[in-house]
Homo-oligomer: 596 residues x 2
């Protein structure tokens, strides 16, 4: 069950699709060019392959365990997290001022993929810590920053996000946890939070909870929610740890997957009130939480890619080893490794094309994030911000939904062995299923895509992306190779389907919300598929060019075939999806509730 | 986690789509009309809802356990199996001569669905016993029949199928278990069999293994395989049990799902040889085994429908209970049950339409089986046999592949709760994944569809089905309602896509096997989708007519909406699949093996 980081594909993507050369021209990122990317990725690969990957199956067999309010993580996790922190991996994308490395997301995202491929349960701890860091960076006071950030960035402490309550899942308006202001400016927090990833564990000496709660007298609904820092141990002014705070883990969940990652029920204030500190201003908690969530949503999308890559590698290995039946073309006159069978190839190619397409989409989104945040030109920042925001629900929604199919195919390639837990393929299938749920279900991502990202600007951003895709089609036609022409045709058909849907969404969200939201997830899937397929088409053009220059022919040929596969087997779904969305809304919503 | 058998939908399907009235005109089935169907289904529902369904989750928590060669099943299973046997359920479809009820498959299939919805792990025991009965009925000598059949039909003993060996999964040519002829006409069996469902358990006093093995000197490959009966306990001539035979369960597997169902590794002959009795003639074992497998494949397809139905019911229940967020259309000015949200409806309708469509397909196939076996007119038998054989890979492959999507949506509807094991939705997701693997993976079904069922007769059977579908389209157009017209359009487009693929398959299987088999599973999925959608279209026509007659308006309206949904959201996939199959083969197979 080993893992080999796909460094070559990552660097190809970072160089040619995400254009790291342009990122390295942004002030502050001068040292973050391709050479840096290569050095970081190679180091990262070594750590993840050697340290984290071997612990993945161990975490499934020997999950985190709760006893008397304390959580013991899988043997080896604590030591591995210390190595992770000491290696500087937690701080990779965070500011040097607080002990980080200040690298662009374009590089960081690839490292996050590796850590999640190696060990998704483990990777959740740094993922949530990243979210807490983002929130404090954006909205925390200087005092909060000074007290907490460096410890988080260096991995001495870890962070969590506390949103969900038993009655408040997707619907944060229903949050009931309350905060009572204290004379010293702090608050006392009371309530129950559930589904808190790494809400309690033994891997760090303190845990910094970021908690949504209502200050007494706040408005109803989401406009009355504030954000608080609630540390497990209070922190003295000199940075040393003080008293144990009144937040306690009363249980952890028994889950289908990511078993090593403790999912805590946290009880705040049962013994007088947990001490909390307001982040930013009262009643703006949701806004700040969205900063964390957007970072986390992107990262969860990367988890989808990561687990797909791991499942693919495992399936390839098995398909090359397992001997069964003669090839249908008679090329081998004896039972052969099953990778010779066309349907096994179809499954592996589906896994591969999906993974590479989603990886390329995520990399391009990461580059847009970097430009949106750090480019000196305001207009460039604005355009990139709009593109990035459009991408977040696609990276999150499409990559994770597809990871369900990819990990399912991963089991399927193994045949009966896939259903036996010891084989390991089943773990990826079970682990992946959380990805379409947490940090906003696919439907929540689709609501975001429909409402904030499409209807709000009348489909303008969507159409700008379609215009860019049309240019790629022209480039493909200009190239004129059979592969490029075939891909141009599929890409064009998918783009037209997308534009029909964008018009439908932009034109009807207000007047016929039921009809539009009936197709919201199919719209997300169509859009994600199109953008990933577009990136594969761009990759094909680059690979053709480099192949002609004699550069790494086996890799370039494989990229061309994979891009062609993507177009012929995945982009072909788009026109049918268009029909379902634009013409099929009525049957989604007309059944009487009693008839279900 | 209760289960309510969908008796009304089953009876609608059996009456109007499978035309039980015609089955009841076949000599021997005179008493097997709609009234009998209703009485049997109602009784069956009572038993499955009351006895088996409550044990399902228990079986997941408390799986079968192995100790010292013996397997203890989940508490309650033994008693439940006794009730099952005493109720006559094992013998439902088997001949009265051997203690069965002799009912048609058209009725029996619905009962099998119920048992699998209630408890799939439990249902596997009778499913495999059915296979053993079929094989003995077809090929067993009178002596073997006399000794074993009644005990199996009445559920006093159970049966198994022993095909797989560590090196021989899909590829039965590699079977190495050997049989040595003995002077008394029996054989001694030596070898290891794996993945033997209910290969050892405590629910019955004897287990009758049907075992593939090679007689010494037999030809290589599948033409040298024979079939043997190997009972766990030898059977005396008076029917009483004799000595323990030399077949032993050395372990059971640790699986992702169907945990209550023991999956045994059986060791034959480690203590001198297991006594076995030849079924039929030497070297014809595969032929006989295919009889068992075809029965079992159909039944596994029904398992897919069954688990989809259970997942659907659970998701509906949760969606009606769980309150979260306001409806987008402003129809409720407060947080509402999530079934009011369009995307939740889309998920539930996808689950519902898929389940009803597959159920209708399976019912029509069952009626064809009954006519193929028992109709007095040879020509009618022949036509029905061809139709049934075409249906088996679709019922098995399509219903089970779709059950992966349905059970995944079932988890998704539950949000975070779906990932918590205690909720129960995750169990269906885990259980379902075996269905696309055992009794021949989806690829094996697709090979059958391409080779034996399409290429062999030049696509004749496939085209005959398409012609029937075209008649339904004409009926829909004649009906002229907006729903019927919309469905006619989708059905026509899907049929044309299917015909293109059939021509491609029939025309190229010999000359370009790689190209055809690259699209074999997509062809199966297209064909299954088309046939299920066709049955839903027929259901729509019936429902429109009965609605006009004032019969059960809520049910008929729901059927019309569900059929329309099927057409608009599932049949719409077909043209894209056609493009992938007919135009996309190259990119499936051209990647160099080293590039994977």
């Amino acid at each position: 069950m080993s893992y080999t980081a796909p460094v070559k594909d990552m660097l190809f993507t970072i160089e040619h699709l995400a254009n790291i050369g342009q990122i390295a021209q942004i002030p502050g990122f001068e040292d973050a060019g391709l050479d840096t990317a290569q050095a970081v990725l190679e180091e990262c690969a070594k750590f993840n392959e050697g340290v984290l990957a071997p612990l993945n199956w161990e975490g499934d067999k020997n999950p985190s365990a709760w006893k008397g309010g304390e959580v013991t993580t899988t043997p080896g996790f604590k030591e591995a997290f210390r190595q992770y922190a000491d290696g500087g991996w937690q701080g990779l994308q965070h500011p040097a001022d607080f002990g980080g490395q200040g690298l662009p997301k374009t590089i960081g995202a690839a490292c996050i993929e590796m850590t999640n491929s190696a060990n998704m349960s483990f990777a959740l701890c740094p993922l949530l810590t990243d979210g807490a860091i983002e929130a404090l960076l954006t909205a925390g006071s200087d005092a909060l920053k000074a007290k907490y950030l460096e410890k988080l960035v260096t991995g001495q402490w870890t962070g969590t996000m506390n949103l969900t309550e038993p009655q408040a899942g997707s619907d944060l308006a229903l949050v009931r946890t309350r905060a009572e202001p204290q004379p010293d400016g702090s608050y006392k927090i009371f309530g129950t939070k559930i589904y808190i990833t790494y809400g309690e564990h033994d891997m760090a000496e303190n845990i910094v909870h970021l908690v949504l709660a209502r200050v007494q007298g706040a408005p109803e609904g989401v406009k009355g929610i504030s954000l608080f820092v609630v540390p497990k141990f209070l922190v003295n002014d000199d940075g040393s740890l003080g008293a144990r705070n009144d937040v306690h883990c009363v249980s952890i969940e028994h889950k289908m997957g990511i078993k090593a990652s403790p999912t805590a029920v946290l009880q705040y204030g049962d013994h007088g009130g947990a001490v909390g500190y307001l982040v930013g201003e009262e009643n703006r908690g949701l806004e700040y939480m969205f900063i964390m969530m957007n970072a986390a949503r992107y990262a969860v999308g990367v988890q989808g890619i990561a687990i797909s890559e791991r499942a693919y590698q495992k399936a390839v290995q098995y398909a090359k080893d397992r001997v069964q039946s003669r090839p249908v073309d008679g090329s081998i006159q004896a039972s052969a490794p099953i990778i010779h069978h066309p349907d096994v190839k179809r499954m592996l190619m589906t896994m591969r094309a999906t993974t590479e397409g989603c990886r390329a989409m995520a990399a391009v989104a990461a580059a847009a994030y970097d430009a949106a945040h750090f480019h000196p030109d305001a207009e460039v920042r604005k355009q990139n911000q709009a593109f990035y925001e459009f991408m977040v629900p696609l990276v999150k929604g499409y990559s994770t939904e597809m990871s369900l199919e990819v990990t399912s195919l991963g089991v399927q390639v193994h045949g009966g062995m896939g259903f036996i837990e010891e084989t390991g393929a089943a773990q990826y299938y079970r682990d992946a299923k959380i990805l379409t749920i947490y940090e906003g279900t696919t439907a929540i991502q689709a609501n975001d895509l429909v409402g904030r990202k499409t209807a709000r600007d009348g489909g303008q951003t969507a159409k700008a992306i379609a215009a860019q895709i049309e240019k790629t089609e022209a480039d493909l036609r200009a190239s004129g190779t059979p592969d490029a022409l075939a891909v141009a045709q599929r890409l064009g058909a998918a783009r037209k389907a997308f534009l029909d849907v964008v018009d439908f969404v932009a034109g009807n969200t207000k007047a016929s919300p039921n009809a539009v939201f009936a197709g919201s997830v199919p719209y997300l899937m169509l859009a994600g598929n199109l953008v990933a397929g577009w990136q594969m088409a761009r990759a094909l053009l680059v690979a053709q060019e480099l192949l002609q220059k004699g550069q790494d022919a086996p890799f370039m040929r494989a990229k061309i075939t994979t891009a062609r596969f993507y177009a012929d087997h995945l982009l072909t779904k788009a026109p049918g999806q268009r029909d379902s969305i634009v013409e099929g809304a009525q049957s989604v919503t007309e059944l009487a509730l009693e008839a279900y």
